[in-house]
Symmetry: C4
Subunit: 218 residues, 4 copies
């Protein structure tokens, strides 16, 4: 199957999932509305902003990844579906955090932040599986770059003997796993970690596909 069809379906799913986030805000002030009610809802706004940026950046990375290939086979289609299952789930832990971060029950906020992190770790794993599958089947999937070129073009953590082996993007998976553990100490600190990771991913950590160059048929 042409990978662009799968991309345009994925685009639709990303677009709906990112818009679903606003539903968490709609009930604010359904009874009374004053400055205090508005201000007290700040976890709703914070969760909206963090999750919006996160899904938006994940959409960008999705395009960068799939920009390397021209075809999609059945295993990749299934991996992509599992990834989308994680993306679409994001509004759920977002709602949990928004509801419980400042609630009377401290452990509610902690559980919410941990679920958020767990969903993100799952998404990170699927991104990694997709990348590994993609470089392992570069030729069949119609990649312009060879397996070696793709593997070599991944930005690394550093220049040492160890750091030069670790892709820079794996900070994400480690960061989300750390955020999940931190949640059991402080939900607020955990949410701050997720915000920082969203800011980190505003920068690109993936090799750019050649399609990024002027492509008259794109």
């Amino acid at each position: 199957m042409d990978s662009r069809r799968a991309e345009s379906f994925s685009d639709g799913v990303f677009a709906v999932a990112i818009t679903v986030l606003i539903f968490n805000l709609l009930p604010i002030g359904q009874r009374v509305l004053n400055a205090h009610v508005l201000a007290m809802a700040w976890p709703q706004y914070a969760a909206y902003v963090v999750s919006f940026l996160t899904i938006g950046i994940m959409w960008t990375n999705h395009h960068t990844l799939f920009g390397h290939i021209r075809f999609i086979d059945r295993p990749l289609l299934v991996l992509n579906l599992l990834l989308l299952m994680g993306i679409v789930a994001i509004p759920f832990p977002t709602a949990l955090i928004a509801e419980h971060l400042t609630g009377p029950d401290r452990s509610g906020g902690q559980i919410a932040a941990a679920v958020y992190g767990a969903v993100m770790v799952a998404i990170s794993i699927f991104y990694n599986l997709i990348w590994w599958y993609l470089i392992g089947h570069a030729e069949e999937l119609g990649s312009a770059s060879s397996q070696q070129m793709l593997r070599g073009s991944v930005p690394r953590l550093g220049t040492g003997p160890v750091l030069s082996k670790i892709p820079r993007w794996s900070i994400g998976m480690v960061g989300y796993a750390a955020g999940t553990l931190i949640a059991f100490v402080s939900a607020g600190a955990s949410l701050a970690v997720y915000g920082l990771l969203a800011l980190f991913y505003l920068f690109n950590h993936l090799p750019n596909p050649p399609r990024d160059a002027p492509a008259p048929d794109a």
Copy 2:
């Protein structure tokens, strides 16, 4: 009408319907949130995963089917609309199952699982009607393969005199009908059948369209 326009509209409908599934999860923990509340909601997660994979796979099959043709006429447009009416309905029995699978009232879960199966049987029927219409009008619809080639390329159940006549995909319709009946014995067993059918459909059981080959104008 060019069939690709109908496909891109259908893509949009599939993308929204698959994302609507998350709305069933949003009310979890709206009052209290603890490990027990989260764990008790497992039918919500199970129903989400099964329906997400099911809609995702149905989207793939939709593309494989429509990949065989280039034009769409009025009867096919109406059949496609009826199919989409079934797809969009999936979040409804999904919500019923999620709500009633572990509820105090045993018959509630059974009815929910039966409604789920009935919707799936209806969708299977529309898929079959679309396939029959498509091979019956292969030339008018701009198919690259002739009616005989299309009919011949369908993977069959087996090699015997009977099995070689039955398309492998018809396991779906039979399976969903069985699941609907099993529902009246055990809702859980019924849901397991639906999950297995989703796994079965992760593999392709449709003839691949020639468009799957490199198509510079796709």
Copy 3:
């Protein structure tokens, strides 16, 4: 502006609006679920089916209309926006009908059916305005057919001196206006009229654009 961009945005709006219809069904059986509860919700299913077919057919007609042109100017863009405002509103009277058709308060169902018809009349008016604008500016909008050809190709009501002047599709506006009035006598009869109009529109009553012919660049 290229009219295809406006079409693809409109496609997205149609796809979301048609999927929003399922939200009316989600609360069914939120407390208890048995055969009686399911059966009592039949106005929900009827309203879902009628509105789904109606929006689906309207999407088809939208494509047929815009298939005649290649460019879109500001007035047409605004007319299209007003049309979409009507399409997106359809789930609202659909919910009113579903809720009140069999309610204890007879006048509630009548008002619901009248609101439904009024929204449909408004949509019909915008379709007519778009068609008139389109044939009045056929050349500027890049139509392949001249104003006279477009006007001449509209299927008419009949062959008499009067009937041959009235486009067949205007049955819609008249039918919806009649349904709105009938609502004040019987909400059920009114809904039946809307269902019949949806069936009537399953057939095409618009001139086919030349783009329906094989277009390699579409």
Copy 4:
């Protein structure tokens, strides 16, 4: 990255956000439905119409802006994401206005109207940032017009030494800021300002991209 991919994702987000507006109307008449209940909900309809036109026009402007360029880089992608975050937020203040404009608590309506204006001011700022970034990087982004041509083609407020320096579209940002302040005097007057601004933006105040000319590859 090719700017058209970002545009089609943005189209999806606009299409979902504009359709989400209908959710504010769905609860009307959930208990009783009569002419009085319908009439009393007029702030819901007014807010729906104003926000629908506003998002629709913003979609048009988004296309006009991005029609000038062919590529999108990371900073522009992030600016676009922030803009979409504002667009998707519009249903929230729309719900606040619909709920509180005619409520018993006068200050509730005022706060709602002020939040609406604040969101619009934020959106205006992002539109301005995108425009400034776009003309500052015209060549890298593949614009057909040079930086000077783009800057020169912006319609101005007037012909005097001062007015000729101010782009006509900046009426929007000033108008929304004024509406935000007026909200604290009268929520109704503020909503009227927002309605007038939506009407003002029905006309084009941006330079048309050359892509508006017949483009066979668009």
